[in-house]
Subunit: 313 residues, 2 copies
């Protein structure tokens, strides 16, 4: 039995968030359906922020409703606060992705709250979920951004990540996401951080969210795999960027991630050729967006046998 | 004491080899001097192939002579055969980089020889070196290209890599280079291949030469570090490509490699800011060449402390 790794598409949120051109709703839904059909089982489809803050997410309700019609897909969305959580519950989304920064300064600048206030917000969101009828309760994910470095503060102490991780788990998080939001980490930092967090949070799954801002993205995935991480965020064609470094690369490239995992023999459930085809939807819809990806340029190796068709060694 | 890692620039050979525009000799020498000044201690400066085969290397003699004037730099050059070795010896180069393919088909297509014939060539080259006066003997490196995959044959058996590695070491190689010439490898393949080779070749150093053709380059570096590899080839700005995949990325990016190693605390001897400056020489000299690199776009992390200035933890 090959080990299962869950890859989660975050490009519709993290990738489009800083892109100035609105992607038409029907294109977003085409992307979601096509990537789900290629085997990606979980997609963060939008963000429940006020549309006047980020016009790209003005169609959050339509995108959520459309995504929920895709068979078998886990539909998640980012929430900045309690109001966003209420919206997600009303829309029937499967999973709410709450995000706070481990960096004090970044959290203040980003959501005008101290990390302590954000943890309190998270508790209120969990309470709100628990007040819902059993069949209307979304899963709640606790995201720790800037966990591996911050453009204001630089290095972040491992102790600080662990403290917030434990607080979110004690508050009721169904999963944690440890994020290298600005792409500062190297494999040694990743191992230190994930080992420390995973040791303290018991059975709660800890997902990795890496950016390839300084080229270390897939090296960090490999380091996280060594720690037993089995859930990875990525963005098709590496959409996204870094507000602190204009022109820099964004999330790790979903297509390259899936190639590496498949090559290593993991069961991602993804058909690599079908996944590469999905890039065309983005290319057609947003011809001005920067698309990354090495596999898309190079193609699969000669005689490549997908993990699913490989005989046991 | 931080562990020392040797990074070797191969862009002047592997990077320029498939580029159609000739880089003026004075620009090559400016690049070599600047990168040596930034702390890169070994540079493969050219290839001793017939100029009519690759006009880019028509100035091999001038480039070698100029590079040999750079204080403290180890100057190496690629040799395809005995004639190339003789040229290198006559020019007084420090190290000859012999390359053969582990893939039978690739070796036949590339140098019109079976791997067995190439091993025999290597033996003749070692004999030629040993006939030289003691102070005129260059070091001889045995390079195994397509060791981690071949565009004709696909996967390469680990046994085949080990066999050629042992043959080259028995013939007198001062070091080995195991190369993922077409960028097929993942971290598990890297670990399997390097562990198997290093187990059989005793104290002969085994260097890694990775291409980032499918995005796994730095992940493979991290895997090789886990095996104890301490010598890595790379190309500033990731120059180079893949003759089998037009437009694909080439060698791993020297600047990103040095950032990852420095961040991990290794002693590369390289000043990252000065290294990034060297890119400008290439940009100015070859404005049409494709330049890669994430660090160059994103810059160093906030408050980044280079490994050399870090206090022991």
């Amino acid at each position: 039995m090959r080990e299962k790794i869950t890859v989660r598409e975050v490009g519709l949120r993290d990738g489009l968030q800083i892109h100035p051109t609105f992607m038409p709703t029907e294109d977003k839904l085409e992307w979601i359906a096509a990537e789900a059909a290629a085997g990606v089982g979980e997609i963060e489809v939008t963000s429940y922020v006020p549309p006047k803050l980020i016009p790209q997410f003005a169609d959050a309700a339509e995108v959520t409703a459309g995504a929920l019609k895709v068979p078998g897909l886990t539909v998640s969305a980012l929430i900045p606060n309690l109001r966003g959580a209420q919206r997600g519950i009303d829309l029937g989304v499967h999973k709410l992705n709450f995000v706070m920064s481990v960096s004090h300064t970044h959290n203040l600048k980003n959501v005008r709250r101290t990390p302590e206030e954000s943890v309190a917000d998270f508790k209120a969101i969990v309470e709100l979920i628990q007040q819902q009828p059993q069949d209307r309760r979304p899963l709640i994910s606790g995201g720790l951004s800037t966990a591996l470095g911050c453009s204001y503060e630089g290095k972040i102490a491992v102790d600080a990540i662990v403290r917030r991780a434990v607080e979110l788990v004690e508050a009721g998080a169904d999963e944690l996401v440890v994020a290298d939001t600005v792409g500062y980490a190297d494999p040694l930092q990743v191992r230190a951080a994930f080992r420390a967090v995973m040791k303290e949070v018991g059975n709660v799954p800890v997902a990795a969210h890496f950016h390839d801002t300084r080229g270390t993205g897939l090296a960090n995935v490999s380091a996280a795999l060594d720690c037993g991480v089995t859930h990875f965020d990525a963005s098709l064609a590496g959409l996204g960027g870094c507000p602190f470094a204009p022109g820099a690369t964004g999330n790790i490239v979903m297509d390259d991630l899936c190639f590496m995992l498949d090559s290593m023999g993991y069961d991602t459930g993804v058909d690599l050729q079908r996944l590469l085809e999905v890039r065309k939807i983005i290319e057609r819809s947003l011809p001005d967006i920067a698309m990354q990806g090495a596999l898309a340029k190079a193609g699969l190796p000669t005689n490549y046998v997908p993990a699913a068709q490989r005989k046991a060694a």
